[in-house]
Amino acid sequence: MNHPNEIKLIIDDIPVEVPEGTSVLEAALSVDITIPHFCWHPALGKAGACRVCAVKVLEGSPRGVQMSCMLPAQDGMVVSTTDPEAVALRKGVIEWLMINHPHDCPVCDEGGECQLQDFTIAGGHGLRRYDGRKRTYTNQYLGEYIEHEMNRCIQCYRCARFYQEYAGATDFGVMGRGNMIYFGRQGDGPLESPFSGNLVDICPTGVFTDKTARFRARYWDYDLAPSVCPHCSLGCNITPAARYRELLKVIARRNDSVNGWFICDRGRFSNGAVNAPERPRQALADNRPVSCDEAMDALLERLTEFLELNGPASLAIVGSPRMSLEGNIMAARLRELLGAGTLSYFDDRLQAERTMEAASLLTTANAASLADVRKADLVAIMECDLLAEAPMMALAVRQAWRGGARVYVVGCDVPFDSAQGTKTLAERSRSPASPTHPGPDSVPPDRPDAPRTRPGAGCPPPLPAPGGARGWSGSRPGVCSRTRSHPATPRPVRGSATPRGQRCPHC
């Protein structure tokens, strides 16, 4: 049955049905037709900047060569992605982008996982007609985690749009004009956003690469496996990438109902412990190296002996709130199998009770996924420093706010600056059209003694504003406020003298 606002169109002779408001680019992607695109990104939307997504509209309006990301699909439209005019324009755009792009893929860390490489090859651009000098830039030091190679930039604006609009930080953006625009910071320095690592995933070329894993492997060398981030309880989806049994880096894995396309820097960069040499890599039984199967057999034997000797009531199975859900479920299964007398997840009765109480309040009706939060129209944050406890929840709240939601902060265990930032958000969302934006250095009227905030004029202020005594600012990415007094523990950069990382002991 046809939904009332379902649009039917034809792309390359394939009938496509999409909801109203879908762009032709998205409609094409929905039936696995790939139209090249750089500036469009599912989470950031359209920008119309790169002009590489050209298609030709054969029937419908407007006709002719159009940018598919900017073009809403309409009923009865007939679109060709293979029309010679559209193909020629796309090829021309690639030629322009390659005028200044270095021709050195073999020594670029992005090679093999580079959208520009793919679309350049796919578009058939092979012959260089521009014989002038290339534009070159000076790179910046952006901290220990992200390498900056501006010569590789194709000016798709994804990074600036993610960093400022999506993630609400202001220390990185676009500067300059014409073909000398620069994506960076005012000066060298670590990126301040706790979501900065997403620049690595989102940049379609090799401008931002994961410094902790550079030049260790090509994409096809990795052992990749779908996984879930272990660093907080949100369960953001990740893809750990390993080679030779060593975890090299973590990539965000798309899950629309949880983390969407992104993860926080803690999830991405705080995984050094995985590779710690002290971790047992060989199963032992009675201090004798054995195979895993042999070890399991030995374990079963000992358990059976124990049960026979002492009875099941004296066996306790211990899980942990720090363990994955799957692990904890397996612990419960094991208890059933063995008939163990005790199953425990907490070392503290009070904590167990509080957790149970909290869990009992959750019903299928009132539990909200991160996707729900992103679309919420009202958010109340109770007694919680979101950025420290569940960073991606803070990012989700920001998306709600960008969509017009009101945000309230309740409680005293909230960094003052966070509350301040949120308050400004709420005020501004009430009158988005107010011509009296707080100017630079504006002071909230009711707090003349408040620290001066500096909301980026015209763009939403950061949520919760970093800085102050307990935010993330000043700490290094990947570390919550409780770890403040301790150094962050990244995976060491190869060859650097940083000691091997350990897990944060604070939560």
Binding site: G48, R51, W96, I99, G132, N179, A433, P435, A457, G458
Partner: protein, 422 residues
């Protein structure tokens, strides 16, 4: 034709409020506020046939009619005084010599559109014009023509001057709106057009200085009278032509719209400089294709100039004599556009420097025949840029390839520029 906008002849003198009023100044506003509905003011502007003087020539009354009347929240009017198009300086002349009709015209436009807060966005370098504007606005406010309850009618208008940080792209209306909001001056996607969703998301009309300055005369003397100022029945009103280049008397003149190119050059411009013969001109600012001696009789009005393969644009005429290298002229203009590209979209940001590189090669004598094809491709593909800057930049290049291809090829075959540089 008796000048309307430039009727105070003493150069360097800006009339006082009393002088302006002695001449009938602010009578249009008084008439409108006392006895005309906002719709009647808009209708008069529609009837006058006034077309935008900012370059595109869009009918002003039609633009106003796109503003939705029933949306909640404020509407805005912005006067575009950015004027950074090379060859165009008419708005500066107006702002320095007679800004009164602009103030009155803005008040009338705001009354017609139901606007309570309007802005004048002025080019960075126009310090003198901005100072003059501020002085005149203060005078108008003291006399009750701006501010609250204007002329006792209950109509309120706040007017602010905003000095641009200074880039050509700030003149593009949506980039201008971004600049006014305090963010990067990149253009916005259209639709939605500013008339529906502009400044701070509210309906906004952007009009050029000269466009708005014409409105008092339309209201005071009637749309039919104003329309008949033009030289042809199809054209409407008078137009400021600001001339530069190899003419004897390069100045800004107010002339009937539809006057021929030859009449402008031989008339008020006093013909060519001694020793100079007319080779070509840019008719309406740097983004319009050349006209040649073949176009001597073309009526300088929007449609006839378009039919002749160019655009009336802003009316900024740049005249070149027989010793001018047209490749050099085009290169000079392309250098400007490449520098002023905002950097948002690929065709403009990367295409213009490519064109600049090739024109430099040709001008320096190292071009080859294939380069002409690359230039032609750019003329075509830069139409797919995000805003009108890049297609505009291709105006002179398109003219060069259509009218002066021989001259381009001569550069290539001779391996040098055939003109002696002065």
């Amino acid at each position: 034709m008796e000048p309307i906008l430039l009727r105070y002849e003493r150069a360097g003198h800006c009339p006082t409020l009393d002088e302006y009023r002695a001449d009938g100044g602010f009578e249009a506003l008084a008439t409108a506020l006392a006895g005309m509905s906002p719709d009647a003011v808009q209708q008069a502007v529609i009837d006058s046939g006034l077309r935008g003087r900012g370059g595109a020539g869009f009918p002003t009354g039609r633009k106003w009619s796109f503003v939705p009347r029933n949306l909640p929240g404020p509407r805005y009017l912005i006067c575009n005084a950015d004027e950074m198009e090379p060859g165009t300086y008419k708005d500066r002349v107006l702002l320095e010599q007679n800004p009164w009709p602009l103030i009155e015209g803005m008040a009338l436009a705001c009354y017609a559109l139901g606007v309570g807060h309007a802005f004048i966005f002025i080019r960075r370098g126009y310090e003198r014009a901005a100072a003059n504007l501020r002085r005149v606005m203060a005078e108008a406010r003291r006399a009750g023509f701006l501010g609250e309850n204007i002329l006792g009618s209950g109509f309120n208008l706040e007017l602010d001057v905003h000095q641009s940080a200074g880039r050509y792209i700030c003149g593009e209306e949506t980039a201008l709106i971004n600049a006014l909001e305090g963010v990067r001056a990149n253009p916005r996607a259209k639709p939605p057009f500013p008339a529906v969703k502009g400044l701070w998301g509210q309906p906004t009309v952007v009009n050029n200085v000269e466009t708005l300055a014409n409105i008092p005369a339309i209201i005071a003397r009637g749309p039919a009278w104003w329309k008949a100022l033009a030289a042809t029945p199809e054209a409407a009103g008078s137009k400021l032509f600001c001339v530069s280049g190899h003419v004897a008397n390069p100045e800004c003149f107010e002339l009937p719209l539809g006057i021929t190119l030859g009449e402008i050059i031989d008339g008020p411009c006093g013909g060519m400089r001694p020793g100079s013969g007319f080779k070509a001109c840019i008719p309406g600012g740097a983004s319009t294709p050349f006209l040649t001696a073949d176009h001597w009789g073309v009526a300088m009005d929007f449609d006839p100039v378009a039919k002749a393969g160019s655009r009336l644009g802003t009316g900024g005429i740049i005249v070149f004599d027989q010793n001018t290298c047209m490749v050099g002229v085009t290169l000079n203009l392309i250098r400007f556009f490449a520098r002023e590209s905002c950097g948002w979209c690929t065709p403009c940001r990367e295409g213009l420097p490519f064109v600049r590189h090739i024109l430099e090669k040709i001008e320096n004598g190292s071009g080859n025949a294939g380069d002409v094809d690359i230039l032609r491709e750019h003329v075509h593909y830069l139409n797919y840029a995000f805003c009108a800057l890049a297609p505009g930049a291709m105006g002179p290049l398109e003219g060069l390839l259509r009218l002066f291809e021989d001259e381009v090829r001569e550069h290539i075959t001779k391996g040098k520029c055939p003109f002696t540089r002065l």
